[in-house]
């Protein structure tokens, strides 16, 4: 069969997740996550905290494809950036509250994901990555050329942050963080629901053995397109909040290195872990921010070096490695004789 395994994904589903319903860790971890989510803008500069959440959801959207469907998209900037522009245009043109603009941006991302997904899921592995990259580049050039609409190289400036006249959120990035975080949280919950649904079961089956899935009567390509469109919607949600947070959408959001960076963040956090994307984003965004503010120029060198180390030493990324350590510790304690 021509449908070999795509990206080499090594996810051990036989082990119960430490977030599974029966796990005693679950309430503790969820509580910890909530505390971090609420406290983050106290600890770090609020716009940076917002960036972490946006990139975290962006990475989760990539993991939905890479870790759970077995597809390495190298063109996710199309959905992140496409939505950033769409969100900006909607907010600027109609002055709607920003969550409406962001949802419009996400819808736009899903809309363009339908034809892109339709044309790319027939390919697997590196060919899939190249087709998605090609579409993302097309969008980049369109955005660069359509100056009247997108501002060309200057980008879309002065995107308003309208929120029902509540000035604290419209003006203060600290309070805006909580409004933006609510939208990101919705995205994270959707991703979690998708992974733990009957649909999620089917896409992991497609990832592990497409020929067998087809023999069971599952239309492998349609399921891949479905996962692709959902993933694009989540990337669009993240990109929309990002554009509102910064007040502008630039070509930087559509350039191919953005597609590369989000794959890096995903791998850093841990492929097939879902939550890893948030951790990876936390590391990369804070690192970039602190290096940039110290005037250091070789940011790419540092993140690249960290990436190499993580990939070589910790195959399951930061989240995956931590999870494995906790599991081993729990199993050790259980098997150790008492007294």
């Amino acid at each position: 069969m021509s449908e070999q395994m795509t990206a080499s994904v090594d996810v051990d589903l036989s082990q119960p997740s430490i977030l599974s319903r029966r796990s005693p860790w679950r309430p503790l971890l969820l509580l910890g996550g909530l505390v971090v989510l609420v406290m983050l803008p106290y600890w770090i500069y609020p716009p940076v905290a917002m960036d972490i959440l946006c990139w975290g959801l962006f990475a989760i959207s990539v993991d939905l494809l890479l870790g759970f469907t077995g597809l390495l998209s190298f063109g996710h900037a199309a959905f992140w950036g496409g939505s950033a522009y769409a969100t900006g245009l909607i907010a600027t043109t109609w002055g709607v509250p920003f969550p409406v603009a962001v949802l419009g941006g996400a819808a736009f991302a899903m809309l363009i994901a339908v034809p892109i997904g339709f044309l790319s899921v027939r390919r697997t592995g590196i060919y899939f990555a190249m087709v998605t990259l090609a579409f993302a580049q097309m969008l980049y050039f369109i955005a660069n050329q359509a100056r009247d609409l997108t501002g060309g190289e200057n980008g879309l400036q002065g995107i308003p942050r309208s929120f029902f006249g509540i000035e604290a959120i419209e003006q203060d990035s600290f309070y805006f963080y909580y409004a933006g975080a609510a939208l990101i949280l919705v995205g994270i919950i959707i991703a979690w629901r998708v992974v733990n649904s009957p649909f999620g079961r089917v896409i992991t089956a497609v990832r592990d053995n497409p020929a067998r899935a087809r023999a069971l009567g599952y239309d492998v390509e349609r399921y891949k397109i479905g996962a692709f469109v959902i993933s694009a919607g989540l990337a669009g949600l993240a990109g929309g909040v990002f554009a509102i947070s910064h007040g502008f959408a630039s070509l930087q959001e559509l350039v191919w290195t953005t597609s590369g960076k989000v794959v890096l963040v995903t791998v850093l956090g841990g492929i097939g872990t879902l939550w890893g994307g948030l951790v990876g984003a936390g590391v990369v965004v804070t690192l970039e921010d602190s290096l940039a503010s110290s005037g250091f120029e070789g940011i790419g060198m540092i993140t690249g070096a960290i990436f190499v180390v993580i990939v070589l030493l910790f195959r399951h990324g930061i989240w995956g490695t931590g999870r494995d350590l906790v599991r081993r510790w729990v199993i050790d304690r259980r098997s150790r004789p008492r007294g």
Partner: protein, 252 residues
């Protein structure tokens, strides 16, 4: 034993790979309710024929008819819902899924539940009872919760059968159900296939003449992609051409 209406029929079915004819002008007729065996030396085109019947390959020419309907060129996921299930020659499972999850996935397929991304995966447990029944039928009920990757070889083959049965097919295609098995497992599999074959039509490929002899109502012998002989097992077994072509070297 077998009624007159053919459930499966191929007409001049041909598959060429770059000028090499793996399957050549095959006219096969499988009667409803029969167990039909395809035998032949390695490279005779048995697995290629299987892949043509199930849509994993598209024929170069000729046609496939299932229950009188032309299914030539349909995709595997379109053929499966019509009531054709297959097992794979090389064990083909989802290594990390538990046995019960395999069967739930197979049972959910025709219901369209797999499209539900907004519902919890626990909804699939509506198929739990039927899954356990099927696992029980193949003697794997006590392993329901373990991942398929941890099964012994013979158990994996049994799971393949349970999955094929979950689709409740009218036509069951078994590609070497006893491949790589020891004597004990082979006898167990024969009993199993006999049990599940009742009320269904089965086409099976096997190299083992003991398996073919115990199960098949009719045997088609393939050689170099063509039908060499066809008939009841005892008749085919004594056919001169078959003996020289195939059985002669393997069976005397």
């Amino acid at each position: 034993m077998s009624s007159a209406t053919p459930l499966l029929e191929t007409r001049s079915l041909t598959k060429e790979f770059r000028g090499f004819r793996a399957v050549s002008e095959v006219d096969l007729t499988v009667s409803e309710g029969s167990v039909h065996a395809l035998v032949g030396p390695n490279g005779a085109g048995k697995t290629t024929l299987f892949n043509l019947l199930t849509g994993f390959l598209t024929p170069s020419s000729g046609s496939v008819l299932f229950d009188g309907r032309d299914i030539t060129g349909l995709a595997p996921e379109q053929i499966a819902p019509l009531g054709i299930a297959r097992s794979f020659q090389i064990t083909s499972l989802f290594e990390q899924m538990t046995l019960r999850e395999h069967l739930e996935l197979a049972l959910a397929s025709p219901t369209g539940m797999g499209r539900q991304w907004w519902r919890p995966v626990s909804r699939m447990s509506v198929f739990a009872d039927r899954s356990m029944e099927l696992l029980d039928q193949v003697g794997l009920a006590d392993r329901a919760g373990v991942p398929a990757g941890s099964l012994a070889y013979g158990q994996k083959r049994a799971l393949e059968l349970a999955i094929a049965l979950a689709l409740d097919p009218r036509l069951l295609l078994l590609d070497e159900p006893t491949a790589g098995m020891g004597i004990e497992d082979i006898d167990r599999t024969i009993t199993l296939v006999k049990r599940i074959a009742s009320g269904r039509t089965v086409v099976l490929v096997d190299h083992n003449m003991h398996v073919v002899g115990s199960l098949a109502d009719r045997v088609t012998v393939l050689q170099a992609g063509q039908i060499l002989a066809e008939g009841p097992y005892d008749e085919v077994r004594t056919d001169e051409r078959v003996i020289t072509a195939y059985l002669g070297s393997a069976h005397v």
